[in-house]
Symmetry: C2
Subunit: 429 residues, 2 copies
């Protein structure tokens, strides 16, 4: 649509190499890609000491700057997490190849055979912060979908990301695939990111994952298409007809099992009819786990020691052991609260009433709606996509967890026998 920047900065040169590599990746068949991804997983495990050492340097630097606990948790690797990263890559390797799949076929009345066939997007730019696992997850998913990937991680994880990307590129080299197919950018200045975001001839999609500041910056400067991975303000609504023991399980799991991630719960909404029965149990279980509650007047009438919630606590992504609580009159009030304060990420209803569940699902336009299941399952791996490249809160192309298939696009392949649209074109010669 517009010419790429001329003059060939280092970034543009890197992107051109990535674009050239993309054609090679697009041509790999399913077996070659599987072998490649297995080799990448092996390379990560083989490089575990280097990666953990690099991560220790990142953590030391972060600690020296006084990093918060949620961010530290996102940054930190350990042998288990590293094994999980490699296992995630193997999980992607085992998935069916999305490329070349014919998703629909129709014969038109005039005999044209119209197929929809999945092809790769091309070059995907991943822009992220803190979590070094994204380096491997994004590379695996992009390659599985036949794309090349440009990785622009955060400065706080630069050593970890470099070590992981180095392992991945060794695997590419070993499999005879151009290393430029996985390109970790090391110029982390904002100007370089702006230059990246304007290369709409060389980059097909940018996926920002991170804090509000990053997402806004990308949205402001992008000329390339963007799928936002915005904040997760996940709600649990405990319905009048809820199984309260089940609801308590979902609450504790959603809030405490990993508070620093986007599918953690941030707000609890409780139907007034069960507030007396549920709130004291919830408060006891959560305070035993160090969670601070912030409640409305109706909550504080039942739990007098709870701190009052400010208006901005509803809609806040705490990413920490803090929970906003509100008592609502009915399901419609819960829906209205979520519509007003939610982020379209993931909402949960606990109820034994199928009609209430259906109304909750239909009334909300969030990417993921759960009935009697923890918000923490809002994750590509848990929902069957293999690893995920993120959770889209953009209502376009992909909405919710994005796996390899979301990194492809359907195009039309039409086969005919000389059909023309205008009969007078026949016998032209």
């Amino acid at each position: 649509m517009s010419e790429p920047h001329q003059g060939g900065s280092a970034l543009v040169e890197a992107l051109r190499a990535c674009r050239a590599a993309a054609a090679g990746v697009a041509a790999l068949d399913a077996a070659r890609k599987r072998t490649l991804l297995e080799a990448m997983a092996d390379a990560i495990e083989a490089a575990a000491p280097d990666i953990l050492d690099a991560n220790a340097r990142d953590l030391a630097a972060a600690d020296a700057r006084g990093i918060g606990p949620a961010l530290r948790d996102r940054l930190r690797l350990d042998p288990d997490r590293l094994h999980g990263i490699a296992a995630g890559v193997r999980g992607v390797a085992a998935l069916p190849d999305p490329v070349g799949r014919t998703t629909r076929r129709e014969t038109r009345p005039n005999g044209l055979v119209v197929e929809r066939v999945r092809i790769p997007l091309g070059v995907v730019a991943m822009i992220y912060e803190a979590r070094p696992n994204v380096t491997a997850d994004a590379a695996a998913l992009c390659l599985q979908a036949g794309n090349a990937v440009v990785l622009r991680g955060g400065s706080e994880a630069i050593h970890s990301n470099t070590a992981i990307a180095g392992a991945l590129r060794r695997a590419l080299r070993g499999e005879g695939v151009p290393e430029a197919a996985v390109n970790l950018l090391t110029d982390l200045r904002r100007e370089a990111m702006v230059e990246l975001l304007r290369q709409n001839e060389l980059v097909d999609l940018a996926i920002p994952r991170g804090g509000e500041g990053l997402i806004r910056f990308v949205a402001e400067h992008a000329r390339v298409p963007v799928i936002r991975h915005y904040k997760g303000v996940c709600h649990l609504y405990v319905d009048r007809a809820a199984d309260l023991g089940l609801a308590l399980d979902l609450l504790v799991d959603g809030k405490t099992s990993r508070p620093g991630v986007c599918n953690a719960l941030e707000t609890l909404l409780v139907h007034a009819d069960v507030a007396d029965a549920f709130l004291p149990r919830a408060a006891a279980a959560l305070s035993a786990r160090g969670v601070e509650l912030r409640g409305d007047a109706a909550t504080r009438a039942r739990l007098p020691t709870v701190r009052p919630a400010a208006e901005e606590d509803y809609g806040a992504e705490f990413l920490d052991l803090v929970l906003a609580v509100r008592v609502v009159d009915d399901l419609d009030a819960a829906v209205a609260h979520i519509r007003r304060h939610g982020s379209d990420h993931t909402e949960v209803i606990a109820t034994t009433d199928p009609d209430a569940a259906s109304r909750f699902v239909a009334a909300l336009r969030s990417a993921v709606v759960m009935v009697n299941a923890s918000s923490r399952f809002s994750d590509g791996g848990e929902l069957g996509l293999g690893a995920e490249i993120g959770i889209s809160t953009t209502r376009l192309h992909a909405y919710g967890p994005m796996g390899a298939e979301a990194l492809t696009i359907e195009r039309f392949v039409v086969r005919g026998e000389g059909q023309v649209r205008h009969p007078a074109s026949r016998g032209a010669g």
Copy 2:
């Protein structure tokens, strides 16, 4: 993501009304939507005298400004075309409702039932030029997909668009659906368009259709997600193994049946082995229909009266009776030419060799690839989508002709029985 403009300009007020109407449209079931669309088609036909009169005023104003023949063809309505517009709306009414459809269902090992269910996008802004049929097509498709629509047409078609939108809104009113669900903007200043394009809290998707200037303007100013409908530089490659009579049919149909539209052919590529046999027949058939050829040296060696092609003729969207011609050494050279000069819209191969067809399809990343069929079939109606809202050349969300389904998005609905991610969350109370 960001707050809508405060203060409530007339545009923002209109968009808020549209957003409110969107919730009502999203809740309509398939039968209500079918009735509504039938009523819209009836209303267009009932208003035919008014619409044609309004169109005559637009044409008179355009003629006074000295409009070109291709643009005039896009702007012009006649009883047949108006009947076609109403028939297109009825075609959409007859399509299966894309909303609420469960496209996939999987039970995970832990018992979670994961479904993908289509929901509307919300509010779609259609930004277009010249062709007044877009007013009806876009409204029908957006409503069929459960969306509200904001229509921002070109000033040259303002009377036609106002007459058509008036008919559509009468139908909405008659069916008890808020009129704000179809909103024709009449402030056509560029500043108003910029304001529209920045309302990412109120508009879910912008679809620009028109000339390069419009598309660039939208891309430059949009904060809302955009699917571009960029130019169609469609190629016909006549392979060595082509049936030359069939190829000639595709050529004449592609170039002359409606040269002012984006799926018309702009460039002919001929394999050197059949150039002697094909080019004289092509030149005779095309010049009989008033087509000017612009050729490379190898073409002019066979057709000495043909004017030399300038480099910029390859990649030009003439939208007129002009055709660029090049002789290529083989299929790979044809692919390389299209990759360099194409617009990713629609490409055609004429060949009887299945291997050549497969290689052509696989090597190109265009939205539509045709084998032995006219490029003029690259159209939502012809490819089975009912009417189309446009032909996307953005490799995201939808690629190629976009119908009602492309105006929805899949989200996740997950049903469980109290599953938690972290076992220690169990028995929390």
